[in-house]
């Protein structure tokens, strides 16, 4: 095994989930957790980093409860967190359609969808809370889609057999986030939440083994300050931007999580990344990000490539018998609707064989000609008009006349900081919510479930579990002069001084782009032992070069976007290596992680439950990461091999 890259450590002792029947565990946990007297809450200070669904909902709710909350985000307004971009919808086991949905079914689907690499207790709690989320959001005035009778509309999403997805046109994340944002602003006005926009957390402060604060940089003035509290919550989102090109916003980063990791927090399952099959392909070197086209397009579009390699005729001139509808061919039962990971990999396979279309041969056709013929242009326009317009704005091609080109792109990261059932990391006082933690999706996330998890964590789970920790507070006062605080601050100062003083000649972006290419090539849709080893070597080399040659202009005492990026890319370089190591050690294929060595005869992913039914929680070590395994047990859903033939 690859022990030249990492060491084995002790197994994770306890994830703290209560025992007993699964549907009573959350109830039990809430009852056994200690409470904080309302009068004492005012004396307790909680830092929440992040204002996405997970952060804003937590900060608002903690403020309502009466804690003193300090909330941070790097954007100019808390409303711009990346959650705003989610399109499709949010799941909830309301069974409003009477189509057989239930908490148990949502639980079951999510565990199975995660390819049996998530915790049953967590997922069940998520399914239970899902219904409360919808109630909460409706009360806040979130304008969900409704039917003529005035009740909420639902749709089925991501291949689910029941209609449990609530949505607000194609902008569900935006509307949910605005609900949380408004709740948060209400607390700001009430004086319970101190909100700091354009502030970036650059270091975690640990005093006597407990998380007690953060070091932040004011992105406008460059002022570095140390913020102290009784507990710290990270809700800092996902790290898909390690691939440079992804569907994530430009600012998404791993810095908060990575700094905590370097201070001792475990990073779990970093290699689990979700690649979304329907994104607009890259058009050139200048490309800065990739745009997701809703998954719903696959309901009516047919995916194909020319049979003849390098065929550059206009798609309309390619006759039927010279087209390869490869999804329909390989997966006759599910056809164009196979799950995300399968559709993505299949596209890569045909492009690697040279059948790809568009610039660089990195694209496949998503063709609506048949749908237009069958339903009429009007109907297609009504269903997908806005998506078609967006496609045309970006590519300049008219999808009514010429099939869309699509290609897979990195979309979501299932890995993240390790947390127990209480959403506490292994550092006491450090809690992690939303995409930043690893908790509920296992090796693969189902559509419309990230929004659910972010809000579940922020509105309902964390405010209930954090009180058990805070019941011991307020903790002994620390101030700016404490040696741990001074040391953390110095680390930040030194790093900034290094970047600004480095006499380099290469831009930060050029390193980021190169890292992205390595990650995509070797730690993307398909991973091999050989490729990953190569990638680790390349990343180490790149990191070396980064510190020698990176060039950052300007000074600290100003808005300096290059300096911001430099810090983020430095952390991505370290994360990228850990992702490859994690991918290398997991020699099975599961969910978003496909190891070419572990496949069935017909090329499908092969899980290895004997060896790998565990969470890989990595501890930072100066001489390489240390692996702690948390065994996964399945009492309620028996692991089976997925099949979509």
């Amino acid at each position: 095994m690859s022990t030249d890259y990492y060491r084995d450590g002790e197994a994770v002792a306890d994830a703290k989930a209560p025992a007993g029947p699964i549907n009573e565990r959350w109830e039990k946990r809430r009852f056994s957790g200690r409470l904080v007297n309302p009068a004492n809450r005012r004396k307790l200070r909680v830092i929440v980093v992040g204002t996405g669904l997970a952060g804003a909902s937590a900060a608002a709710t903690l403020g309502e409860l009466g804690y003193r909350v300090a909330n941070y985000c790097f954007q100019d307004s808390s409303r711009r967190a990346h959650s705003i971009a989610a399109q499709g919808g949010i799941n909830a086991a309301k069974n409003y359609r009477n189509d057989g949905d239930s908490v148990h079914r949502l639980f079951y689907d999510t565990v199975k969808g995660g390819d049996f690499r998530s915790r049953e207790s967590n997922v069940h709690r998520l399914a239970e809370i899902s219904t409360e989320i919808i109630d909460q959001c409706v009360a806040q005035g979130v304008p969900f889609a409704r039917e003529y009778g005035g009740l909420l509309d639902n749709r089925s999403f991501g291949g689910a057999q029941v209609s449990r997805t609530f949505y607000a046109r194609g902008q569900t994340g935006q509307q949910l986030l605005l609900g949380a944002y408004q709740a948060l602003q209400r607390q700001v006005a009430a004086g319970t939440v101190d909100l700091h926009t354009r502030h970036e957390m650059l270091e975690l402060i640990i005093v006597d083994g407990k998380a007690r604060g953060i070091v932040v940089r004011d992105l406008v003035t460059g002022a570095i300050s140390t913020e102290l509290a009784d507990a710290v919550v990270l809700a800092t989102g996902g790290y898909g931007n390690v691939y440079f090109l992804s569907t994530n916003a430009m600012g998404c980063n791993v810095t908060a999580g990575w700094r905590a990791h370097r201070k001792g927090a475990y990073f779990a399952n970093p290699c689990y990344t979700q690649i979304h099959p329907t994104c607009i392909p890259q058009s050139g070197e200048h490309q800065s990000k990739l745009t997701l086209m809703s998954e719903s397009l696959r309901n009516d579009g047919r995916v194909w490539v020319p049979k003849q390699k390098g065929d550059d005729r206009h798609p309309a001139d390619i006759p039927e018998d010279e087209r390869d509808y490869y999804l329909e061919r390989r997966y006759p039962a599910f056809g164009n609707l196979v799950p995300r990971d399968i559709a993505s990999r299949a596209a890569k396979v045909v492009c690697d064989e040279g059948h790809g279309v568009g610039p660089g041969g990195l694209g496949v056709y998503l063709d609506f000609a048949a749908a237009i013929e069958r339903l009429g242009r009007k109907a297609v326009e009504a269903k997908y008009g806005n998506l078609f317009d967006m496609y045309e704005r970006i590519t300049g091609e008219n999808p009514y006349e010429r099939p869309m080109r699509i290609y897979p792109a990195v979309h979501y990261t299932m890995g993240g900081l390790w947390v127990d059932y209480d959403l506490s990391s292994n550092i006491p006082g450090l809690f992690v919510t939303g995409e930043a933690n690893f908790s509920d999706h296992g090796a693969n996330r189902l559509g419309a479930s990230a929004l659910m998890q972010g809000l579940s964590d922020g509105y309902f789970v964390l405010p209930n579990t954090i009180s058990d920790y805070l019941a011991d507070g307020p903790f002994e006062a620390v101030d700016e002069t404490h040696e741990a605080v001074v040391a953390a601050r110095k680390e930040v100062d030194d790093r900034i001084a290094f970047f600004l003083g480095n006499d380099g000649d290469r831009t930060v972006d050029s390193f980021h782009r190169e890292l992205g290419r390595i990650m995509w090539e070797y730690c993307g849709m398909e991973r091999t032992d050989e490729g990953l080893r190569k990638a680790i070597g390349l990343i180490r080399g790149l990191k070396d070069e980064f510190y020698r040659r990176v060039k950052v202009t300007g000074k600290n005492e100003q808005l300096n976007q290059e300096l911001e990026k430099a810090g983020r890319v430095a952390d991505f370089l370290e994360l990228g290596e850990l992702m490859c190591i994690d991918a290398l050690h997991r020699t099975e294929s599961c969910g978003g992680h496909f190891r070419a060595e572990s496949q069935t005869e017909d090329g499908e992913a092969k899980r290895d439950d004997e060896q790998f039914s565990y969470v890989a929680a990595w501890e930072f070590g100066e001489d390489g990461p240390v692996l702690h395994k948390e065994a996964l047990e399945f009492e309620y859903v028996k692991p089976t091999q997925r099949s979509y033939k």
């Binding site: 109630d135 959001c137 969900f144």
Partner: protein, 248 residues
């Protein structure tokens, strides 16, 4: 293609800014406007110059961060399109393009093309919400809402808080932004109890923040990337009149 750019450069809030000219070559038609600026910035950095600062994040037209006035038009020449979704094929080889920040007293420039839009957050703090503390909600189906109302509320709620309306308004008024929120919440039954205090509070915060008064010129709606219409301003006015009379 080849372009001549004139870009507003201002090193910080206090500094005196000016338009600076740059030539840029080999711009791809397929690049977005911001990607074109990325290319320029890479060049500036390698020449040891300070790159042009601008706000952006999602680059998908939804976060509301991007904010450039291109040739005198907030978000540029293409209707219903944010700057980040504007692509270079909308321009011609040899074009010269002026790029300026949002101009408004309530949105002071921080650096180059970056402005401070926190005044919008303060307007929301003054009432742009429904008070529904976590855990107090009835079942989502307890109150049906007519589909037309829900759809209209959604259309108003689609505002991304970009501030283009203010940048376009000859009076520097934030009425369209404020009207969008008042309309969204005012169309929902949940929003009724606070309807009057909301509009009074938000208008007071708006005036306090230094936005101008609306004289209905309608430039805001023409610039809005989310096609929020002037009817939200009408609705705001109506609610404001009722609330002011009730409060008097």
């Amino acid at each position: 293609m080849k372009l001549s750019l004139r870009i507003w450069r201002q090193s910080d809030a206090q500094a005196q800014g000016k338009m600076v000219s740059y030539e840029i070559d080999e711009v791809s038609e397929d690049a977005s406007f911001l990607e074109m600026l990325d290319v320029l910035n890479e060049r500036l950095i390698s020449e040891g110059e300070d790159p042009v600062a601008f706000d952006h994040d999602c680059r998908e037209g939804i976060c509301g961060a991007c904010s450039l006035v291109i040739d005198g038009q907030p978000h540029g020449p293409q209707a219903a399109t944010t700057t980040c979704q504007l692509h270079m094929r909308k321009f011609k080889d040899g074009d010269s393009i002026d790029i300026e920040p949002w101009r408004a007293g309530a949105f002071p420039v921080i650096k180059d093309l970056v402005v401070d839009r926190s005044a919008f957050d303060r307007i929301i703090q003054a009432g742009g919400y429904i008070s529904a503390p976590t855990g107090t909600a009835p079942d989502a189906h307890a109150v049906p809402i007519p589909k037309q109302d829900a759809d209209a509320a959604f259309s108003a709620a689609a505002c991304i808080g970009c501030g283009a309306c203010v940048a376009a308004c000859p009076n520097g008024s934030g009425m369209l932004f404020m009207g969008a929120k008042v309309t969204h919440l005012g169309l929902m039954p949940q929003g009724q109890p606070e309807r009057h205090t909301r509009v009074l509070g938000m208008v007071a915060a708006h005036d306090e923040a230094g936005f101008g008064g609306c004289t209905n010129t309608g430039e805001c709606a023409a610039a809005c990337p989310k096609e929020i219409g002037l009817d939200v301003i009408g609705k705001l006015n109506r609610d404001f009149r009722k609330a002011a009379i009730r409060a008097a």
